[in-house]
């Protein structure tokens, strides 16, 4: 049986660990709130953006005189997917439960099942880089330790180049694999096609009653500038979802760790008390039997 001192040392060490996990939980809660605020702030913009895209697409589809340019094709008639670009988003740090493992599993499954060739891979987060290494894939670009305010720059970079690649015919689609933020305690690994985008036809019927829009200077120019903006917004939303998910997952993991440490401390304390009591009892017996003799 372990000695009294060993157990005391053990309790002290578990207590220290508990303090660390508690602090991490608190930090994650604050970060989660920040990511969530950004996500909520983006929602009206993203909603309006989708509305505008729908209107423009409805307009172009409804008018036979307009020759859709390459950007319009991205929305109207997607070409066959032969080469795709993929963005994989995980976290930089660990200690967040199944967050990275789950999304990596989804990404691996996607890569395996995907019939088209992945010609361009972007990875966000250190864990994503490790995943790529394991899969023997070479990322075209690695984004590491991106702060919340740096997301805008990252998505602008990706969307501008993706739109250019689409125009040049180098890629036929852009996919993103990330954690969707269900709630603070639940995340779903998700694979989404950012573009070509499937425009909901139901949305168009509603707008058909309206006078159709003049597109200035001309429909194709509008779509060409609209496409990267739209992709940017979607990517930004996905990155924020992933960030919120990460902090949520870490918060949940650290909460569990803290309560486990608490349980361990109470178990160890019980054992320690038992041993101490056993020692005292032994001593009393010794004294009593010594006095009797």
């Amino acid at each position: 049986m372990a000695s009294l001192q060993d157990i005391r040392r053990r309790i002290r060490s578990v207590k220290n660990t508990q303090q660390v996990t508690k602090a991490m939980k608190m930090i994650s809660a604050v970060k989660l709130r920040k990511s969530q605020e950004r996500l909520v702030a983006l929602r009206p913009y993203a909603g309006k953006m989708l509305e505008v895209v729908r209107r423009v697409v409805g307009r172009i589809r409804g008018d036979v005189e307009i020759q859709p340019g390459p950007a319009a094709q991205a929305f109207l008639s997607p070409r066959e997917e032969k080469r795709i670009r993929m963005v994989f988003v995980a976290s930089d740090k660990g200690l967040c439960g199944g967050f990275n493992a789950n999304v990596a599993k989804a990404a691996t499954a996607f890569v395996k099942e995907c019939t088209s060739e992945i010609v361009h891979l972007d990875v966000v987060g250190k864990r994503a880089v490790e995943w790529a290494k394991k899969q023997k894939l070479t990322p075209a670009k690695e984004y590491l330790n991106i702060p919340l305010v740096g997301f805008q720059r990252v998505v602008t970079e990706i969307s501008e180049s993706a739109a250019a690649q689409y125009h040049a015919g180098e890629i036929d689609a852009l996919y993103i694999v990330y954690n969707y933020f269900n709630s603070a305690v639940a995340q779903t690994p998700t694979v989404t096609r950012v573009f070509p985008m499937e425009v909901d036809r139901r949305g168009e019927d509603r707008n058909a009653t309206e006078v159709s829009h003049l597109l200035e200077p001309d429909p194709n120019t509008v779509l060409e500038t609209l496409l990267p903006r739209f992709v940017e917004t979607e990517l930004l939303r996905n990155l924020l979802e992933s960030s919120a998910s990460e902090h949520g997952a870490r918060m949940a993991a650290m909460d569990k760790a803290s309560s486990n440490a608490g349980e361990m401390i109470s178990k160890l304390t019980l054992t320690m008390n038992k041993i101490r009591q056993a020692g005292i009892t032994n001593q009393i017996i010794e004294i009593v039997s010594g006095a009797n003799a």
Partner: protein
Amino acid sequence: MAQSIKLEVVTPERPVFSAEVAEVQFPTATRGYYGVLPGHTPVMTEVGDGLLYYIQEGQKHWLTVFGGFAEVGPDRVTVLARESETMDMLDLERAEASRQRALKLLKEAVTEKDLANAQAKLDASLIRLQAAGHPAGHGF
């Protein structure tokens, strides 16, 4: 016929402005300023950098807008701006500091790209200063 226009300005960071107004004018990327009165024909166009004004209860108010899209309908104007500020959100000191920085960058610029970046920064700071009625902005 609609009597007023619902002006909405949103950026990826936050909804900036939303209210019923009588008249709106905003800068476009390719075709100069675009003025909108109630009952305007629906138009979709790219927004440039500059000042947007709206008239509300006979008063002219200004907003800064930087890039994005505008969707105009008979009773609404929706601006999806990359960046935008109301006068209350403007930080004069920051704009002035950014102008100084841009001027310095402009002098040091070597490549075409540096030059374009510095010029864009300078323009943005001048627009902000002009919006706030700062003397430096009026040379713009």
